[in-house]
Assembly symmetry: C2
DNA sequence: CTGTTAGCGCCTTCAG
DNA sequence: CTGAAGGCGCTAACAG
């Protein structure tokens, strides 16, 4: 049974037709007699034939491999896992399969996996780039005519399509929401300063502060790793300054959770003693009993959109880069309350 | 620059050697002059040559495609995302790439992706099977000589290797831990009854109850979807019975979080008014300020082990199925306390 | 509608 | 150490 692979020739012989006929059946061509087709498919099933895409792909001039590469900076982060799932959904239903690799924010690793993917002849690439990714890194891809879509994080100067969320607007809305509840000192917590996403969100923060007639205070911007631990750290630093904030918008939900941890460690109840707004809506937030008000982006949706964009470009042969800014939504959870605070972060009345 | 693909012929011509020489260089053969090798590699870089694995693979009799398939039932679940990352780590460092697909527990989808992967000539498959996966589903793979490793969930009757955690022992330890703290009525919450994992864990529960000289009460076993919402539901059902439990071991961490949600909704503080033990250690638990005592399994570690096992089998050509039972660890978090309770779940003293 | 004839890009003899 | 053939499994023209 394991006597070498079953090929079109085998099934042609067994079905008493020629290989070309088999090939036509394989491609669902209408040029073949229904009876013949039935017989051929029957034989294929019987012999346990499996199509060899590698060979087909080799023959077919171009490189329509039906495989698309997906590179993610941190699959361990629920947000990116959801993104990958979103991509997978449309990729799968389009008859493609996805190479998925995790870079753990390592540029070297990213280079390696992209190289490896190229060797396998991917017909397109979707990536949420590792921090520090340069337009130069994508250069070889685009000059080889491989469509690329970057997601979540954009790569400055790269002539590729992108799907990013409306970072500026999200934070803007969050800060204004808090301001409308009476908060006059809202901190911006978490995130790495060397990223475009941080820049965009910080810009939203500044804009909102300005538009509310408040004063921008550099001390209220506390960078930290975008993790739960980072959030706990950030809030403790934020609360150690003279004029304490009474609320915070967080770089992402992981940070927000960490901020809650940090608050509780100081006997402050998030949502009651200190208002917290998260960003990104990772898994926990979705499946949870409401805990935080969040600026919600739909990672699966972004993944789907990125994949659709990529497929469009693959099918179109060649199209210029296109950018999608995925809109965000402020989700106010009733249960987290919206207290007014004094300048020490204590609840008023 | 996009004038068709650069092939070995192109680079041979440009370097003034024959294609075979180039081929030898590609495989790092020692049969080639150092000077020649240098020149060839230089030309390769210059012309932007990319190795075509598809073609190589086609020629090389067998099907050592350097790609391994990974099928996961729910990538959205941090546990499985970690598993995939673990697999990726060793797969990548072995020079393979991974096809990763998500089945969302759909058997149809699972069949499709496996078929698709076969067409692409995967040299091995790692899967955490969708619920209801049958030994029959894996039959074609094994009879085609493709090594398969199932992870997390075993498939009864399938002659494939597996890497599962010690479910029985984990729950056993959890229940005994609670008993040692004085809990005499510990519930077992969450999980689907139609899975082998549930069976194993339930068996551990029964064994522990017996070994502690307690009475087994069917009412204390509450099945529910292994999600946060399921956990909230399960605990509310568990607390609605006459003789209330004072503690619970949970099917997994998602359930445990849900249980905490449910407790808080009833003004009970988890860890103080009701002891909760989680299982699986998904991301939240690891990055969190300690919240729960958990029965900890290391999903990345399982992924790594599964991948190593698979690679071993791939390299060995053929080996019989091998099973690894990944040990678990009871992690007691100080901060969650270990209170004694009365039969109403109220804290004593 | 079906059979024949060439290769896709690469790797493996097998001689030079 | 290098060059010349042949073929992996499949598809793309053409003939029949």
């Amino acid at each position: 049974m394991t006597k070498g692979r079953v090929t079109v020739i085998d099934i042609a012989k067994a079905a008493g037709v020629s290989k070309s006929t088999v090939s036509l059946v394989l491609q669902g061509s209408s040029l073949v007699n229904d009876g013949t087709r039935a017989k051929v498919t029957a034989v294929m099933r019987e012999l346990g034939y499996v199509y060899n895409r590698g060979a087909a792909n080799l023959r077919q001039a171009g490189s329509k491999s039906k495989i698309i590469g997906v590179v993610v900076n941190d699959l361990t982060n629920g947000f990116f896992a959801e993104l990958a799932v979103g991509v997978d959904v449309v990729v799968q239903s389009a008859g493609f399969v996805q190479f998925l690799s995790n870079t753990s924010e390592s540029l070297d690793r990213q280079r390696e996996v992209i190289a490896s993917m190229r060797e396998h002849g991917i017909s397109g690439l979707i990536m949420s780039p590792a921090r520090g990714t340069d337009a130069e890194d994508l250069k070889p891809l685009v000059s080889a005519g491989i469509p690329v879509v970057v997601a979540v994080r954009s790569v400055a100067g790269a002539k590729v399509s992108s799907v990013v969320s409306d970072n500026r607007e999200g934070i803007f809305a969050g800060v204004r929401h808090l301001a409308s509840l009476g908060h006059r000192r809202t901190a911006f917590l978490g995130g790495f300063r060397d990223t475009g996403v941080f820049d965009d969100r910080l810009e939203g923060y500044r804009a909102a502060v300005a538009s509310c007639g408040l004063e921008f205070d550099e001390d209220l911007v506390v960078d930290a790793p975008p993790s739960r631990a980072g959030g706990a750290d950030a809030v403790s630093r934020a609360l150690s300054i003279a004029e304490k904030p009474t609320a915070a918008v967080c770089f992402n939900d992981a940070v927000a959770f960490g901020v809650c941890d940090g608050l509780r460690a100081r006997q402050l109840e998030p949502g009651r003693d200190f208002a917290v707004v998260g960003f990104d809506d990772v898994i926990e937030a979705k499946t949870a009993v409401p805990a935080l008000t969040t600026i919600s982006v739909d990672p699966q949706g972004m993944g789907r959109r990125a994949a659709q964009l990529l497929l469009k470009q693959i099918n179109a042969g060649k199209a210029e880069a296109e950018s999608i800014i995925s809109s965000v939504r402020l989700v106010v959870r009733e249960s987290c309350g919206a207290p007014f605070h004094d300048s020490l972060g204590r609840r008023q009345a």
